[in-house]
Amino acid sequence: MSLIRQIWLLLLGVVLLALAGSLAITVVAERDTLQTQLRLKNNDNAQALALALSQQRGDASLMELLVAAQFDTGYYRSIRLVRGNGQLALDRHADPAPAVAPAWFVRLLPIESAPGVGQVSDGWRAIGSLQVVSQVSYAYDDLWRSTLRGAAWMLLLGLVAGGLAMLAVRRMRVPLDATVAQAQALSEGRYVVVPEPQVPELRRLGSTMNAMVLRLRGLFESQSAQIETLRRQAHCDPLTGLPHRAHFMDRLSSAMQREDGFGGGLVLVRLADLAGLNQRIGHEATDRALLLIARALQEYPERAPECFAGRLNGADFALCLPAPDMTAETASSLGAALQAGLQGQGPGIGVHIGAIELHRQQGAGDLMAAVDLALARAESRGLFAVEVVADATASPALRGERAWRQRIVDALDGGCARLKAFPVLDRKAGLVHLECPLRLQLEPEGEFEPAARWLPLAMRSRVTSIVDGKAVDLALEAIAQDGRPRGVNLAAASLADGVFAAHLRHRLGEVPQHAAKLWLEVDESVALAHFAAVQEFARLLRPLGVRFGLEHAGQRLHQIDRLYELGLDYVKLDAAVCRGVGRSDAGREFVRSTATLLHALSLSVQAEGVEDAVDADALFACGVDALTGPWASARYEE
């Protein structure tokens, strides 16, 4: 039984006992008083009547009249005059008057009407004794009414006491609940600090738990700072702090292989004549120019988290843009910014810029070749020239927004939606869950197309929550069929949609045994940009048994200040940080520290996009709990 319930029962018991006890005592005391009064009344009346009878000089008819007059007031059950020899001289008696009080009450609290006795004489001659008994029902009625009144008062007092007790318990409950919630949060891996309770017993507990939480937080924060250093060492160019070529390429291919797709552009910036510059203006001035370019590129990722930049080699920088149709504009504005910046550094310092619209079907290598070609064209046109190659095939079919929305909704409703399934395997090759991206058949008889084709349109048409709802429904149906756990990823817009969360909660509450096999995940960047929404979503859904995690994580994990308060179950590391760890000490070190930190937060760690056994072994050795990607799919089929 809960503590609060015990307190309630105790209070209830004490109040009931006190009230019922005082009512009983009052009633019994009143009964005794009434009984005494009745006895005295009988006696007084007997004395008074006997005195009056004694003055009648033994005249029987006068005495009878007097007795009758007294009796007819109606307050007497009997008045009798008994002669010395036991003979009845006068007798008046009535039936007991009906009482208002119920029979059980009369039986429970009997009131005795003791007869009053007076001696009647005529001068020295003793006539007999007079016995007077009053009706007792009036006393019962009086007692019954006062019992009812007493009970009503007690009830009122009881309600007031109950109300006060409720206030007191509520006051007690607040700090208790806060402490319990903190403990609950701790067990869920959220490290929150609560205000210290005012109650002394709880204050020590609260402050101890707060201190522990703060110590753990400090630990996590220093660890995550350390990991950030490792990440820089593993992935970044020491001079500019931008990702180096290998890492940039990993991120580029990881981005392009993602199910939810990638439309955007790639901008290549080259510092003209690096070797010549080194000779002419010296190392330091050249480094200044390189840093200036790096800073100009860095502004884009800072403004749009989906952007990323890199230093490909000595003179070459690249910027990857997440949105289509803005490459040309970005390239020219970048060119203008660099022109303004670099011309102040000295004569002859300049860049060439080549840019290209990205298309998913291309490989990263082809892309680089294409953008190199654009750059070469720019170089032929002189300093600060910008060359953009538009890829006509990449641009999606132009349709009205309304038409797109309709098509997506039709596809969802018309059964033209299907889940793919990619296995996530643990180190014993056991299935953790199936990653289930949604595919839609947008054209009749056409292919089931990945999110890359339609997600940007769905986002623009604001139907993501419908799309995500459909994906969860399909996953639950599939779980119901084969009992295998399934993972579904959700868009940021769905998370922020309160109706979606409430709907989902209701839907999952109906099938708790299936909800326990559902894994929901959001992109790392969503957690960064919409921390509160993600936290609230986790708080709402995790109690239903749903597993909740981040996907494509690793790049900005350290930027999520309060990862420990988010309420997650797992984190999937992005392919960009997992790829090639088998061959990179720094990469392994980064994954290992990250996994250690996440484990310390009670999160399980999974790796995405694993292609070969070398990486798989290295990842497992670094403490990663499960893998997905081509290697896992191949093993699962075996």
Binding site: L40, N43, G118, Q119, W124
Partner: protein, 208 residues
């Protein structure tokens, strides 16, 4: 078991309680103890005689031993009904104190309460008229009573007392007496003089 049975029989034969009377007398004072010591053998002695014969010794005992004084003088109150031992303790009392003491002593000696009545009378005394109380003994119900008075020491039949005009009479017969001490805490029940003196007489061992 036999002891218990004997005890019970003894209790029913002897209506009064020797020890209780001693204890009560000690509480009141040395004169009360002295009075009780004189009264106890008298009660025990007369109890063996005929009912009629019991009256005179008791009547005489109180008439002789107690001086007639006003309540105001003895108790500092206008009207005070003293118990037998209280009166013996003071050695003085007024008319109702005499009647009360005789009443309880006779009851203790085994005279049925139904044959005794305390009577309010109008007494003509020395040409004046006075409210007075006497004890009347009825050998049979309805018969002429014998009057035990402190003004005239002899016991005379009522017809030989033309100076007394009876007004009202009472006794403890049929009166609800309750448990001893039950009315002690009851302010309402305290009001009656008669009830109070009954209580005291029981505490002094005159009544069972």
């Amino acid at each position: 078991m036999a002891c218990l049975l004997l005890g019970a029989i003894a209790l029913s034969l002897q209506a009064w309680d020797h020890d209780r009377m001693d204890a009560a007398a000690r509480r009141i004072g040395p004169r009360a103890v002295e009075g009780a010591r004189a009264l106890q053998p008298l009660i025990a002695q007369v109890a063996k005689q005929d009912e009629i014969a019991r009256l005179a010794p008791i009547n005489e005992f109180f008439n002789r031993r107690v001086l007639f004084r006003d309540d105001q003088e003895v108790w500092g109150q206008v009207d005070y009904w003293a118990s037998p031992l209280e009166m013996l303790g003071k050695g003085a009392g007024d008319c109702e104190d005499y009647a009360i003491a005789k009443y309880f002593s006779l009851v203790a000696a085994g005279v049925p309460a139904a044959r005794l009545r305390l009577v309010y009378v109008r007494a003509e005394l020395d040409g004046g008229v006075q409210a007075h109380m006497v004890l009347a003994y009825y050998a049979q119900p309805g018969a002429e009573p014998l009057v035990l008075d402190n003004l005239i020491g002899d016991i005379r039949p009522a017809s030989r007392r033309p100076d007394l005009a009876p007004v009202f009479s009472f006794n403890s017969e049929g009166l609800w007496q309750g448990v001893a001490g039950a009315s002690a805490g009851d302010p309402v029940a305290r009001l009656s003089h008669w009830r109070e003196v009954l209580q005291k007489a029981r505490a002094e061992g005159f009544l069972p």
